[in-house]
């Protein structure tokens, strides 16, 4: 959280949040309502491999069952061009199997496992043949909102799960366990920050920083517990804060189900996420006790990329040059950030030099200049 809640409302614009209408649509949908799958494709995910049983499929609804035999939490994605997410399952713990149902029109895709939940992942080609649907411009833009909504739902699901694990560790007094889970749970939060922040009553009590509160208000949420974990090392009185955090995160997840953004809101949300990086993460303000800002950075960057990519089918027709520029600059930002990966996570913020921060800042500045042009393109429709 970086700006007063009132200001942030305009980022997404509550008035534009329309209740979800389950319109029939030609693109991907990953949840249980995607139709009946005629198959069940096994995906064997390990720490260093990702084996998909089929690489050629007919167009239609498919089910993947992803089994994680590795030691790291993993994720499974089906990407279209430009890493547009057609379907994904998050947060697959070691030893766990999860299902993904996704509708895939004809085209070239990449099945991707992300052990440790970071990086480009382990990819293999997936060719889908058959009839490719032709969508009108309006349908393409409407599809963007539906795609993004599906993304938000997958993220909030993982957010609730990881926050539950975090909260349990805090309440059990497991300091090291809670410290390890803190940036992981926040990753999902940061990916969908513009949506989460649109709930002006919940955002400040989930993600407020010390000093943001009005007189008489308590300092609560992620950062209150972060302070206890890293500053005092004593979480014995954090139980009520942990319970309240989980309740509020669950509430966000429920309410997000009803959020569908229009194209302009997606464009502004994508840009807003990059602004979050520039104002909160590059400055080290977000996680001032844990210095896990680069995890949040990655979450914002991924979330922004996802929002833009949901608009990709439209943008490819309306402004292909801009799409190329945005692709290049997302790749550059991802590569720059990747240089600070360490183990399953990142270097801590307070270990970064001024020069390194400037390099990160430069890539975000460039990317923002490109992404900021998306709003005008989609508004011309």
């Amino acid at each position: 959280m970086s700006k007063p809640a009132r200001e942030r409302l305009s980022l997404v614009g509550l008035t534009g949040l329309t209740a979800l209408t389950l319109a029939a649509c030609g693109g991907g949908s990953s949840s249980g309502d995607a139709g009946t799958a005629g198959d069940d494709i096994a995906v064997a995910a390990a720490d260093d491999s990702c084996e998909v049983a089929s690489s050629e499929l007919p167009a239609g609804v498919h089910q993947f069952t992803v089994t994680n035999s590795g030691s790291k939490v993993t994720e499974f994605y089906v990407y279209a061009d430009g890493d547009r997410v057609m379907g994904e399952v998050e947060n697959i713990a070691p030893g766990v199997a999860r299902e993904l149902r996704v509708e895939l029109p004809a085209g070239n895709y990449e099945a991707t496992c992300k052990p440790g939940m970071i990086g480009d992942g382990i990819r293999s080609a997936l060719t889908v043949s058959g009839e490719a649907p032709t969508l009108s411009e309006d349908e393409t833009l409407a599809q963007a909102g539906t795609d993004y909504q599906r993304y938000v739902q997958s993220q909030t699901g993982a957010l609730v799960e990881q926050t539950t694990a975090f909260v349990n560790a805090v309440k059990a007094g497991d300091i090291e366990g809670a410290k390890a889970l803190f940036p992981v749970a926040r990753t999902y939060w940061e990916r969908i920050e513009p949506v989460a922040e649109s709930f002006g009553d919940l955002d400040p009590i989930i993600d407020g920083r010390e000093g943001d509160q009005a007189e008489g208000e308590d300092f609560t949420g992620f950062h209150r517990i972060e302070q206890a974990l890293w500053q005092t090392g004593d979480v014995s009185d954090m139980g009520p804060y942990a319970d309240q955090l989980l309740t509020n995160v669950q509430e966000i997840a429920t309410r997000s189900n009803d959020v569908q953004l229009n194209a302009l809101q997606l464009a502004n949300g994508a840009k807003g996420l990059l602004d979050e990086i520039a104002t909160g993460k590059i400055t080290g303000e977000e996680d001032r006790y844990s210095h896990t800002d680069l995890w949040d950075f990655q979450g914002n960057l991924d979330g922004s990329q996802n929002a833009v990519q949901s608009l990709r089918p439209y943008l490819e027709k309306a402004d292909p040059a801009l799409v190329g520029e945005i692709d290049d600059r997302f790749a550059a930002a991802q590569a720059e950030l990747a240089t600070y990966r360490q183990g399953d996570g990142f270097v801590f913020y307070d270990q970064l030099t001024e020069d390194q921060l400037r390099g990160l800042s430069d890539t975000i500045t460039a990317l923002t200049a490109s992404v900021s042009q998306v709003a005008e393109v989609v508004a011309q429709k």
């Binding site: 400037r358 430069d362 200049a369 900021s372 042009q373 709003a375 005008e376 508004a379």
Partner: protein, 436 residues
């Protein structure tokens, strides 16, 4: 205060900007007239009103962007500076060229008093990001000049990489300056692959220009350092009164001036036959040095000490032993058996007679607030143009080893750039000859 209330305070028929522009120019005119009357005492006393009016017009007017030489070098020094140095962060020559072309187009518009982009700050529709930032809307051109330069690291990086295929085009004189005695150079505010000097009579116009060039450079360049300056500390035209620097002394009395084309050709402009003349002829080298003044020790020294340190009188700016500012500097003149102008004085050591060369100075005062000890973080942002840094600034500076002024100053930054010749046509752009 409401907008209407604010409007009440303005003379009828003048926009807010027009009002402030005139007020500012009027003030400048008064100062100029006062200085001229007090110093020179020539037969101009009956003309102050005319002079003030001329100065007011000139302060808001546009300076031509095109010409044989870049504007902003011999252009009569404007009152305000925003100087910025960039690192180029792409390795893609085409991206760099495209940015230089975009910069040239924006500079062409902004120096004419127009918005940076073709659409403008407010005419692009509600969902477009404006192609101008808008803070100069309604402001006149204000004498804005934008002067670009290429640093040695553009040609070959510090670790020897020729990123843009330019290494062979680097003229030999374009090389980092040597270390000088007493230097305390901070690399973070030194060097750079590119520079832009923005000078204007309105600080907002200068800042607006740099801000928009920075915006256009996203992904291609990153600002390495920048410096704001005020109160030009040199006159570059004999039509300008000599200003005072923060030591309180007139600075630039014997500067190279626009009215001396022969001297400019000899000391400022790169000429056919010089290294790199294939792309740099008609251009020049700019050296910048941030010179922190030790204000408090200076302010507690006696007038005699100050004048002996500089070599001129504080009031008139006359060479010691003379009466008026423009009296000839006579290093042989003695007073009571001593040289009137001490041999350790700044004027003695820096003067062309003793340094054997001349440079065109174009510096500005700066005050960056105060330092952690409550002392004024102030001084001179020194800018000098020359035909070759080795026989220009370097030669002068090496002659200043024994300068009494060194006790009161410290150089904290250093940079050198080659400034290409002027933009000559509608399709010309900054660096075309270098990149072609």
């Amino acid at each position: 205060m409401s907008d209407s209330a604010r409007r009440e305070l303005r003379p009828a028929g003048l926009s807010r900007r027009r009002f402030f522009g005139l007020a500012g120019a009027g003030t400048a005119g008064v100062i100029a007239a006062g200085a001229a009357g007090g110093v020179i005492g020539r037969a101009t006393a009956e003309e102050p009103a005319t002079s003030a009016a001329t100065a007011a017009a000139a302060a808001t007017e546009a300076v031509p962007f095109t010409g044989a030489h870049q504007a902003g070098i011999v252009t009569p020094a404007q009152d305000r500076l925003h100087f910025v140095a960039f690192d180029v962060i792409t390795d893609d020559r085409a991206e760099l060229v495209a940015m230089l072309q975009a910069w040239t187009a924006a500079a062409r518009r902004m120096t004419a008093g127009q918005d940076a982009g073709e659409v403008g700050a407010v005419d692009g529709g509600q969902y477009a990001v404006p192609d101008d930032t808008g803070e100069a809307l309604d402001l006149p051109a204000s004498g804005l000049t934008l002067t670009v330069g290429f640093g040695p690291t553009l040609f070959t990086t510090d670790d020897g990489v020729d990123r843009f295929g330019l290494a062979a085009r680097r003229p030999a004189p374009l090389t980092e300056l040597p270390a000088f005695r007493g230097d305390a150079i901070d690399p973070a505010i030194s060097g750079g692959d590119l520079c832009v000097q923005a000078c204007a009579n309105d600080p907002q116009v200068a800042v607006h220009a740099i801000r928009n060039l920075v915006r256009l450079g996203a992904g291609v360049v990153s600002v390495r350092w920048s410096q704001l300056g005020f109160g030009r500390t040199s006159s570059t035209s004999s039509g300008q009164a000599t200003p005072r620097n923060l030591f309180g002394f007139k600075d630039g009395t014997d500067n190279l001036k626009a009215e001396s084309p022969k001297a400019l050709d000899q000391f400022v402009w790169v000429t056919d036959g010089d290294p790199g003349a294939d792309w740099l002829a008609g251009g020049s080298y700019v050296v910048t040095r941030k010179i922190r003044m030790r204000i408090e020790p200076w302010d507690t020294s006696t007038l005699a000490e100050q004048e002996q340190t500089i070599g001129r009188t504080k009031k008139a700016g006359a060479p010691l032993g003379q009466r008026d500012e423009f009296d000839p500097v006579d290093f042989t003149k003695q007073v009571d058996g001593d040289f009137a102008i001490p041999q350790t004085s700044h004027v003695f050591l820096a003067h062309p007679t003793n340094s054997g060369t001349a440079i065109l100075r174009r510096g500005y005062s700066f005050v960056d607030g105060s330092d952690g000890l409550g002392r004024l973080a102030a001084g001179l942002f020194f800018i000098a143009y020359q035909r070759d840094p080795a026989t220009g600034f370097v030669q002068v500076q090496q002659n200043l080893r024994t300068d009494a002024m060194n006790e009161y100053i410290q150089h904290t930054s250093s940079a050198v750039f080659a400034c290409p010749p002027g933009i000559t046509g509608d399709d010309d752009w900054w660096g075309r000859a270098l990149f072609s």
